[in-house]
């Protein structure tokens, strides 16, 4: 019997993972700006350090030193708490993502995830739902027209696409017969990546995921050219930084979840465990950046039409067909 992970190892693991996650977030912003720059016939950041490698640190220093301005009419407590809630839930959600099979070192068990629970998938969705409150409340508490428009859009968009997102993974849950993410990955390792049998679910998950993370072309809650900056228009300094952090970590979590649910997680032709997970996640992140650089933003009515009239029916049919096939052929 595999020994369970002692609490102090879990604590160290959590500290290490949180820091890796924050580092990944910081350098994801650099990678994104570099990739976008290259795709748009320009260099991207290249002044801070060699190849611009110190740019995230420069950004951090700038944000920390910048005045955390708040409008006189802002509702203070929710205004301050909103970015904290968003950042906290974003980091917490990643703790359920399995990035390795787990190891036993000198008799001590080290898990391949920070938190292993039988309802890991549900927990991620639940934390994501709470994180949305940060975006909504932040815009509302700013007492600004553009912020409130951004908040309303966040509310409508995220609620609309959350349904499709949840339905898109139902097929995977049915095939994996579990809500426990390490189990779903292990089952794919013995079978094949669920991207093959659940290809439609993957597509729906991908589009709904872009909308859930408010990424271009579904970045309507922010819509830089249209709504100034949407719900975080009135934020500056590290409060704004926390919102940015939440958005990017949500993106990393979503990419990690996609790798976990559809691309066999840490499994690969060679036994390099977490490296596979990282490579697959980075590949998914690259596609998100690519998409942002390629497509124009949708109009609000187009976004809603796509969500309710296309994604939702497709996700529903996919879940029903998967369930019927599993019942018919016994999984």
């Amino acid at each position: 019997m595999t020994p369970s992970e002692p609490w102090w190892i879990a604590l160290i693991e959590a500290i290490v993972i949180v820091n890796i996650l924050l580092g990944l977030f910081a350098y994801l912003t650099l990678i994104e700006r570099k990739v976008m720059g290259r795709m748009q016939l320009r260099y991207g950041p290249n002044r801070a350090g060699k190849f611009g490698l110190l740019q995230p640190i420069a950004d951090l220093v700038k944000l920390i030193r910048k005045e955390a301005f708040s409008p006189a009419s802002a509702i203070e407590l929710p205004y301050i708490l909103a970015p904290v809630v968003s950042a906290f839930t974003a980091i917490a959600a990643f703790s359920f993502i399995p990035w390795g099979p787990g190891w036993t070192v000198h008799g001590w068990r080290i898990n391949g995830e920070v938190a292993n629970t039988s309802i890991g998938l549900l927990a991620i969705f639940a934390l994501g739902s709470i994180g949305i409150y940060g975006f909504i409340v932040g815009g509302w508490a700013s007492e600004s027209k553009y912020s409130i428009l951004g908040s309303m859009r966040t509310c409508a968009q995220l609620v609309s696409y959350e349904v499709s997102l949840a339905l898109s993974v139902l097929g995977v849950v049915i095939l994996g017969r579990s809500l426990n993410l390490p189990e779903i990955v292990a089952r794919q390792g013995h079978f094949l990546p669920y991207a093959a049998p659940e290809f439609i679910g993957l597509i729906v998950f991908f589009f709904a995921g872009i909308a859930e993370t408010s990424r271009a072309p579904f970045d309507l809650p922010e819509a830089e050219q249209e709504l100034v900056a949407g719900y975080h228009t009135e934020y500056s300094g590290m409060r704004w930084g926390l919102f940015q952090m939440a958005e990017y970590i949500n993106l990393i979590t979503l990419s990690g979840l996609m790798t976990t649910l559809f691309f066999s997680g840490w499994h690969g032709p060679w036994d390099i465990g977490p490296i596979w997970f990282l490579l697959k996640t980075m590949a998914v992140l690259f596609v998100f950046i690519w998409l942002r650089t390629t497509l124009p933003r949708l109009r609000y009515d187009q976004l809603m039409r796509f969500g309710w009239k296309i994604l939702l029916p497709v996700a529903t049919v996919n879940a029903v067909v998967t369930a019927a096939l599993v019942v018919a052929f016994g999984g």
Binding site: M36, M39, Q40, L41, R42, K145, Y146, L149, A216, P217, D219, L220, A223, E224, Q225, E226, L227, V228, R292, T293, T294, L295, P296, R297, L298, R299, Y300, Q302
Partner: protein, 485 residues
Amino acid sequence: MTAGNWPADSRLQARTDGAEIRGVPPDRWRDTVSFLLQHGYTFCGLHVTSPAGVVELRAAFIRDGAFHMITCQPDPQQAPTLIDLVPAAAWDEREAADLSGLVFSDHRTRPLITHPEQLERWTTSVRGHDTHQVAVGPIHAGIIESGHFRFHVVGERILHLDLRLFYKQRGLERAAVGKPLEQALAVAQRACAACAVTNSVAYAHACEQALGLIPSSELSRTRTALLELERLYNHLNDIGAACAGIGFSPGNMIFATLKERAQRVNRMLTGHRFLFDTVQVTRSDLEISEHSALAARRELRDIRDAAERAWHEVLFHGSVQNRFDGVGAITAADATALGAVGPAARACGLAHDTRSATPRLTYPDFQVAAPADPSGDVRARVEMRALELPTTFELLDSLLARAIRPAECTPGHEPIATGMAAVESPRGRTFCTVERDGTTVTRLRLRTSSYANWPAVALAATDNLLPEFPLINKSFELCYACCDR
């Protein structure tokens, strides 16, 4: 039209080749304007001047490249208004009222250049459930000039937009007064960088008309080439800006790159990316060698090929077309009433282009471009730029076929005190009036295409979503500095 067709009590003040000026009694002011409109004249601009301390109202009209100006000496407290006859004159009258203290009758003149604190003095009153206002500017996130937009909205839908521009009245027109004609050119040029050549050429033409001069064919060729170089980089920029308005980075970046290349051609040919100081009154000092002209033609052909490929990319992108279609539409009737000019007017189906009737420039057999579907929306306005680019490239290729040498005007007709000129800028017709005393400017009036088109922007925004406004605004791509003269 002959003098015999004019209302009986109009008095001919001056006439020369392509221009006629008539004085009318104040009580016949409106009738004369109605008469001109009925005879197919288009309103060009209105201004106030006060020679010898007497306030005079002047309105200019154009038909087939010929100008007709009417003047009157109104009662300063009861000047006749034209707004109901020519809605396009609204800003001119408001500006005249602010600058001269003239009071126009029959309508409540709202301030244009002065900025009262009280909201109700400059905004339209909007009432009803769920209506609210969103204020944008005058300071914007981008590096642009100051302008305030007051949106009256229900949810995200715009009921009405009040524009509040004219924040930085630079007094350019006043600064020109008393200067020699040659020196005041710099004042006209600096009204706006993006239309520097247009403003300069319009000013130079107005001066030359007043002096009774006509440009030689070489001078005309030089100025036409400069105008088309200006149109080229502006059109490339405007298409890119529309792409930026919907977050379509590839389109934005490609056209921004092409614009930069076009501006480098400008620098190679003239030493200035914005073509500053390339126009002079009565002559041209610009010299472009055959070698430079050839290099420019080669680069322009490359830019043309790249622009065509980029435009096909934009057309191919269904998502881009979906964002442009049906947004910010104005009808041909509204465009006519508001005096919209340039690509914005042509996108509504109004086939007006000053280049088709401009004897002082070199536009042989010029054909006005027209969109396949003149729907007057963002798509049509952006498409107009793309449709006009081939003509510009062809013109430049032929105008730069040989070296450009310094050239001068030649005496051509009787000199008069007031010269008028209209030149097609990238945004439409820019109209310039110069009044002189000998070789000194006594009044300069520069009515740019941006000035003419801003009211149409406000109308185009109505009934659209608030977040669509930046896209609508970029599809006109007007200049704030043109108001801050």
